[in-house]
């Protein structure tokens, strides 16, 4: 299905947010996730199902003032 990941449409088979993070190779990374504008804690990723058109944000530490 098509998911909007960090603003880009992508075709992904992952069914949960946990699977998606793993598929993207970020399972071991320091990242935080949001689904359709709402924060999803890491512990909740396994039980967060993804559906067609979902917007996923995967954020990491970056420079800031």
């Amino acid at each position: 299905m098509t998911l909007i990941i960090n603003g880009q449409p992508e075709d992904q088979a992952a069914e949960t947010l946990f699977d998606l993070v793993e598929t993207l190779g970020l399972a071991d990374a320091m990242v935080a996730t949001a689904l359709n504008g709402a924060f999803v804690p890491a512990a909740a990723r396994r039980r967060t199902a993804l559906t067609e058109g979902d917007r996923v944000e995967i954020l990491a530490p970056m420079q800031g003032g």
Binding site: A32, A38, P61, G64
Partner: protein, 256 residues
């Protein structure tokens, strides 16, 4: 200096953006002797993993991390960003920015107070980037903020203290709240001026990062902030309208 649950020697808070390179950023941070560094959360690319490298660098400095909600224009965005930052950085500290206007990057003070209340109630230690409006400041304290960060001038403008009179008033109005001038600082003399007003600390980023020699400038800021604080504690002389000779008049020869 005490900010929420932590104590610090340094009164310089430094931002980590806009440096020529990550290595220079780390060196400037070290040269500044800042014990608090601000950071943000941005999209991570699985291929590049830039965030992971950046985080390793920040951890090496040993500094206390203050994540920001830069770029957030709504309460919802700011609150969500803060929640994500709390998880990623494992800290309840948050520099709260709710931006109201793209040219001035000035705070949306209404959203700022609302977000401050929501986050304070959720256990965050909120560092609000605010204006020099006293009423807004009162609302922020009522909302749970135990630190205030009024602007000197628009973010990144390097203009210094646009309204020192308002800053002086705010200092007098909140004697027991740690006050940090945040935004618009351009020169060490600006930072010294803020410290001479009795401000507890200064937060700056562009002034160091965009200097020709960021490491040298970071050192200069560290010295200026120490000088300004020492001056404040040394109880400066009063200003006068008219001249008053320093050399004694008594005993001067008549040589006319």
């Amino acid at each position: 200096m005490q900010l929420y649950d932590k104590t610090f020697e340094s009164r310089l808070l430094l931002g980590t953006a806009l440096y020529p390179s990550p290595a220079i950023m780390a060196e400037a941070a070290r040269a500044s002797r800042a014990e608090i560094l601000t950071v943000s959360l941005r999209r991570e690319s699985a291929a590049q993993r830039t965030g992971q490298d950046f985080w390793a660098l920040i951890r090496e400095t040993g500094a206390t991390v203050l994540p920001n909600t830069a770029g957030c224009h709504s309460v919802k965005e700011a609150v969500t960003t803060a929640q994500m930052a709390r998880e990623v950085f494992n800290t309840s500290w948050i520099k709260l920015e709710v931006i109201g206007e793209a040219d001035t990057l000035q705070p949306d003070v209404f959203g700022l107070v609302e977000a401050a209340r929501i986050l304070s109630e959720d256990g965050f230690a909120v560092f609000p980037y605010t204006t020099d409006d006293l009423v807004v400041a009162e609302r922020l304290v009522e909302a749970g903020c135990r630190v205030l960060m009024p602007w000197g001038a628009p973010i990144g403008s390097g203009r210094g203290l646009n309204n020192p009179y308002a800053l002086r008033t705010m200092r007098a109005h909140f004697p027991d709240v740690p006050l940090i001038v945040d935004a618009g600082i351009g020169l060490p003399s600006h930072a010294a001026a803020a410290m001479e007003l009795g401000y507890d600390a200064v937060l700056l980023n562009t002034a160091v990062a965009k200097a020709g020699d960021p490491v040298r400038m970071a050192q200069a800021f560290a010295k200026a902030i120490e000088a300004g604080r020492a001056a404040y504690e040394a109880d400066p002389m009063e200003m006068r309208d008219m001249a008053a000779p320093s050399t004694p008049v008594l005993g001067k020869a008549f040589l006319a």
